[in-house]
């Protein structure tokens, strides 16, 4: 394989007709270039969309109550009901494979009135009553201080973690927020931490939230045993989409809702949405591969064609070499290696050009700032190795027919004097 003479010969053959070699190589180069760029573009789109999901635990559903639509057990339809804090334990007992169940209560919301006061400043923010687990489902980076813990829950401490957005609104630039008190609907809470969220889903909104212990929230704002809504995450091995029916059934039973009432318990299955997006990108990727490989294929056919011509041109030479005693297999190997070499080299050039283009787009994106739904297009090392493997195989295929025809040349016919 790594025989100096063989390599010299390959180089000699491919350089005798430089322009022909270059044009042939261009076909393969173009094909792999298209493949790489398409895959990178798909990846860029995927990155852009997934950015919106951030690092939210995607195996998650959100569940809330609505008015019933059927009467049941003597209760009328149109009845409102609310989840209770006991429901959480009931879910833990009845549904296996749930990782986190976070009951939540909420103040404020879109277009709400100013509800938070610090010193002379006020602002309208979403205020959540939460358990410490929420940080695993709605990830955020704690930038100073700490997040909620179970002591806060047990002792109903009036403490709050505020978003960077809140801090920027209410505090002076260099002012220390930790240890200060903010007034939420007239109740003082001590700021014990600040956070920053990575997902751009809510955009600025995500940074303007305030988290307080669930128990203190219930007490301070008169929620009693009620739970506004729940965020439920399944264990990694199982999907929330499969568990959600069971979860909803448990809730219906506990709140005397007709088993066939599909409207009473509302939910949003993030996992299903995520999967839909995932499969969309799967399809995109498949299209990229198909288009790329089709274009590559025409390049490969070009290589095969040229190799056939090379063999034809070298009929006499092959005849001489066989007369001198070269083994047929050795001739076949020579043709195959020429073909693989040509395909690989031109493919690598294509990969390099593709990478340059991707690099260019990336630096363009960096300079103009983030673009909607498109972010850092890239191809992984895996894709590149995959592409090289495809090239290797296609070089082999391209060389196969010519190599076969080369050893079919009988020396006597090749040497016949014209």
């Amino acid at each position: 394989m790594f025989n100096k003479d063989r390599w010299r010969e390959i180089i000699e053959v491919l350089t005798t007709n430089v322009w022909r070699t270059i044009f042939t190589a261009f076909g393969v180069c173009w094909g792999i270039f298209i493949l790489i760029v398409l895959l990178a573009a798909g990846k860029g789109l995927e990155n852009g969309i997934k950015q919106d999901f951030g690092d939210t635990a995607t195996n998650t559903m959100f569940m809330w109550t609505r008015a019933t639509t059927r009467s049941y057990e003597g209760l009328p339809k149109g009845r409102s009901f609310e989840f209770k804090i006991d429901d959480v334990q009931a879910l833990r007992d009845n549904v296996p494979n749930l990782r986190f169940i976070s009951p939540r209560n909420q103040l404020g919301g879109f277009g709400g009135n100013n509800n938070v006061v610090y010193g002379l400043r006020t602002g309208a923010y979403n205020v959540y009553g939460d358990y410490p687990e929420i940080i695993n489902q709605d990830p955020m980076a704690v930038t100073s201080g700490r997040f909620l813990n179970y002591n806060d829950i047990r002792e109903k401490r009036k403490v709050a973690i505020i978003g960077n957005g809140v801090k920027n609104d209410l505090y002076d630039k260099d002012e220390e927020a930790l240890g200060t008190y903010i007034k939420i609907q007239g109740v003082n809470f001590m700021v014990i931490g600040t956070y920053k969220k990575n997902n751009s889903g809510g955009g600025e909104e995500g940074q303007k939230e305030i988290f307080v212990p669930f128990t203190s929230f219930s007490q301070a704002f008169n929620r009693g045993e009620n739970v506004g809504w729940m965020a439920i995450t399944a264990n990694d091995g199982s999907s929330i989409s499969q568990l959600k029916d069971k979860i909803v059934d448990v809730m219906k039973k506990r709140h005397k809702v007709h088993p066939e009432d599909t409207r009473a318990v509302g939910y949003f299955d993030l996992f299903e949405q995520y999967n839909r997006v995932e499969s969309l990108f799967g399809a995109l990727k498949a299209v990229a591969y198909i288009v790329g490989i089709m274009v590559l294929l025409s390049g490969i056919i070009g290589v095969s064609n040229i190799m056939l011509i090379v063999v034809k041109e070298r009929t006499k030479e092959i005849g001489i070499r066989r007369a001198l005693g070269e083994q047929p297999w050795s001739i076949k190997k020579q043709i195959l290696m020429e073909s693989i070499f040509l395909t690989l080299i031109s493919g690598m050039v294509g990969i390099i050009f593709g990478s340059l283009v991707i690099f260019g787009i990336n630096s363009l994106l960096d300079s103009v700032g983030p673009v909607d739904m498109f972010m850092s297009p890239s191809v992984s090392v895996g894709v590149v190795t995959g592409a090289l493997t495809i090239l290797m195989v296609s070089g082999l295929l391209a060389g196969f027919i010519p190599a076969q025809s080369a050893i079919r040349v009988r020396p006597i016919e090749a040497l016949r004097n014209e």
């Binding site: 005693g325 070269e326 006597i412 004097n417």
Partner: protein, 233 residues
């Protein structure tokens, strides 16, 4: 060295079959220099191709140095050609993108002789045909006579048992023809067996034995007084 018995060969041309060799019997001893003569179409090239294992016979026996040559696979044939035979062609058949030395080294490459040894041997044989200073030249930079001498060096390089020359002087003027024949005679003097196919009387008489072919049979097989080519050079 070579022994053939009742050799037949015919070519199919559509529905007709052309019977080219119609029962050839002959024997070549070690160290002979044989000219095979005949007009065109007499079957002399076909005979040489069969002797050279480039083509198979329809029937008959062929033994080369005690080895029966029959029903060879392409791989085996290539091996035997490499080991037993050296070819010299009318049109030289050098590989035109390889230098003279590389051309000479080619049969050794197929024998998997190490590179260094190959180069040494190639130089040695080029020296014997008087072309050492041209070792790095491409065939296109050599004259016809020089090309044929490179081809002879190449045929010799693998140290074959028999040299087969198909009209070695066919493409050369008479002066260079004699030079080439002089070289062939000298190689023969060293004890090598050589078969020369030719249709030129003077070239044939520079051999030691002339076999006349006509219409696929041997019509004459005689020993002749060898004319040395040296005197014309």
């Amino acid at each position: 060295m070579i022994e053939i018995k009742d050799l037949h060969k015919s070519y199919k041309m559509g529905t007709n079959s052309l019977h080219v060799l119609k029962g050839i019997n002959f024997k070549v001893e070690d160290g002979e220099l044989v000219a095979i003569m005949g007009s065109s179409g007499s079957g002399k090239s076909t005979l040489l191709n069969i002797l050279g294992m480039l083509d198979g016979a329809d029937s008959g026996e062929y033994t080369l140095d005690g080895v029966p040559i029959k029903n060879l696979s392409e791989t085996k044939a290539a091996q035997y050609r490499n080991k037993f035979l050296g070819f010299i062609f009318q049109s030289f058949n050098l590989i035109n993108y390889k230098s003279a030395a590389e051309n000479v080294a080619l049969p050794l490459y197929y024998q998997k002789v190490p590179r260094k040894e190959r180069q040494e041997k190639a130089m040695q044989y080029l020296e014997r045909v008087g072309l050492k200073p041209w070792a790095d030249h491409l065939p296109s930079e050599l004259s016809g006579g020089q090309k044929q001498r490179v081809a002879i060096a190449r045929a010799m390089a693998a140290e074959p048992k028999v040299l087969l020359a198909d009209e070695p002087t066919g493409a050369l003027d008479s002066k260079t023809s004699y030079e080439v024949m002089d070289l062939i005679q000298k190689i023969n003097d060293e004890g090598n067996t050589i078969l020369v196919v030719t249709h030129e009387e003077d070239i044939a008489h520079m051999c030691k034995r002339i076999v006349h072919l006509k219409d696929g049979v041997i019509v004459e097989d005689k020993k002749v007084e060898q004319v040395r080519a040296e005197q014309y050079v």
